[in-house]
Subunit: 369 residues, 2 copies
Amino acid sequence: MNSDTVNIKKLIIKQSLELDCGKTIKNFPLAYETYGTLNKKKNNAILTFHALTGDQFVAGINPITKKKGWWTFAVGPGKAIDTNKYFVICANVLGGCMGSFGPTEINPETNKIFGTTFPVITIKDIVKSQKFLIDHLDIKKLLAVVGGSMGGMQALQFTSSYPDAAYSTIPIACSASHSAQNIALNELGRQAIMADPNWKKENATPNKGLAVARMAAHITYLSKQGLQEKFGRKLQDKGSLKFSFDADFQIESYLRYQGSTFVDRFDANSYLYITRAMDYFDLEKQFNGNLSLAFKKTKSKFCVISFSSDWLYPTSENKEIVIALNACGANVGFVEINSDKGHDSFLLDVPEFLKTLSEFINSTYNDIK
Amino acid sequence: MNSDTVNIKKLIIKQSLELDCGKTIKNFPLAYETYGTLNKKKNNAILTFHALTGDQFVAGINPITKKKGWWTFAVGPGKAIDTNKYFVICANVLGGCMGSFGPTEINPETNKIFGTTFPVITIKDIVKSQKFLIDHLDIKKLLAVVGGSMGGMQALQFTSSYPDAAYSTIPIACSASHSAQNIALNELGRQAIMADPNWKKENATPNKGLAVARMAAHITYLSKQGLQEKFGRKLQDKGSLKFSFDADFQIESYLRYQGSTFVDRFDANSYLYITRAMDYFDLEKQFNGNLSLAFKKTKSKFCVISFSSDWLYPTSENKEIVIALNACGANVGFVEINSDKGHDSFLLDVPEFLKTLSEFINSTYNDIK
């Protein structure tokens, strides 16, 4: 990182937030970014939720990583979520490491970073903190809440917790609770971090463990077919195999690169806390085993989107949300997008997906304005 | 481990074996086990090949781990591969850690274990070493060569390398070369091991890294559906979530247990070498891009078996072997077994699978005896 001044916009939330774990926090920062302009009626605001390793920098250039925002394909002037029309808000999740209250923040009581003394947070806690931001911005009702993967979980939780706070809800490539396989995959990442002897050490970071966690996760974001088409068995050195443990195959180099660059931008403890929040998320359990009850009070219009090659949150799991919504008579549309790009499809240039997103948001806006 | 004397049967192979990497080895041990009795005609021998973390102890009680052999469901008196009728042979693979020449062996030149100075070996090398064993046992033609996963790769390689050495060939839940996803998953395991600071250290073992590698692999051996049915979101402590990073879900405890027990019986460098051999295996490339040519010279009768819920070696990849065999006019049968047990199905009590195995072997034996 260079010495440029970087402005991270933060709201200090003064109110008390009672976390699911029982602790109460207040006077904590929530870092956020906005794109576009809030109109006079304040009815063109879209709250986007980021996924596990995302942040508030949806579009443009991320001032920290100097790379494009994570939803550049979807959000911007003239894009599917058109910032010439809409006011897009995104906050770094509680537990994150891009300015919001998380394990990298200094604990005023010890003058050291919280690290693993940070409280375990949930998707519900995350959503509560963001409702404070929406209230602060004086937005009575959002045009839409939208997100993919963990962002989709937040969208579901938001509309369930605040039934009148969004005209529409767009959960993408997600589920109402993690399958055993998804818990297992997250636990694998946590174990990789916790196996690193630098974990919990002062003045040290478990970068090797975090890199392994990222590699594991990255494999799950792509489809078998997509990996095969992109990498197959292509060698780094076209000549021949090296008969060593250096990267022989291009897929090996690619994975190593994904791991090594990730540690520059992400905190290992944030990774633990956020994956924990995902695994704990269980909207059905919140409503005593009846997912339909989660949406009983809302008039929000839903558009559930899944991707055909997503094996992390397969269409069948997205459909369970649709079934629950139908069971309570909600207004719900469902689209499975054909894509060989796996779970990552929601972050990529998948025209059919972007068209679906755009049309749904525009039609909702036309209905209410 | 206690102080009981353990007999590991070993053949010292005196002949030279030129490895694919260019090095030549000789006077090296190959640990093996046999079950049943070789008949007078010496035509009832079945060579079984073990998978990545298997060993020569197919049936009975493994004298090292004190647990049942890895193929107890399939091999034994009255079992699918009936040791009352057949003589079953299994050797620990080259590069392994159960007595065969591998990285845990002492290098006589340095009086230290080979560790990562051990040469990189291939499936072809493994198969070559086992052909010496078959010759030593004076078996001119095996009734069958059979194995699942990496064992299936060895079966394919064996019959390709020695077209007249087996009446039948049974590759189970495998492929003729690793997909990009499978290379990625193996690389993940290797990276977990290599990230452990104890790796390559004298008098230390990278147990934490190896445990993470095992957890990663273990997830891939089971199906999403199987995991969901067995574990779902069941908690360890029925009361409630712990709001910590202890194991909350049963699947987490299960994975941790899989990791921690594995390190007692397996060497981390063997894990590196054997996964490398799997990734390097490419029978199509050996025959200039035409897999059919691999089997052109053999009259062996093939039975290719896949499992419906195996996402590591899906039916489509097993079928590619069948297509190649058909293209060269080989005698080939193919069965996809319905099972929700994932890749591990070949190790488990899956009646339809065991019946298929038994009937194919018995009919082959009836044809030749």
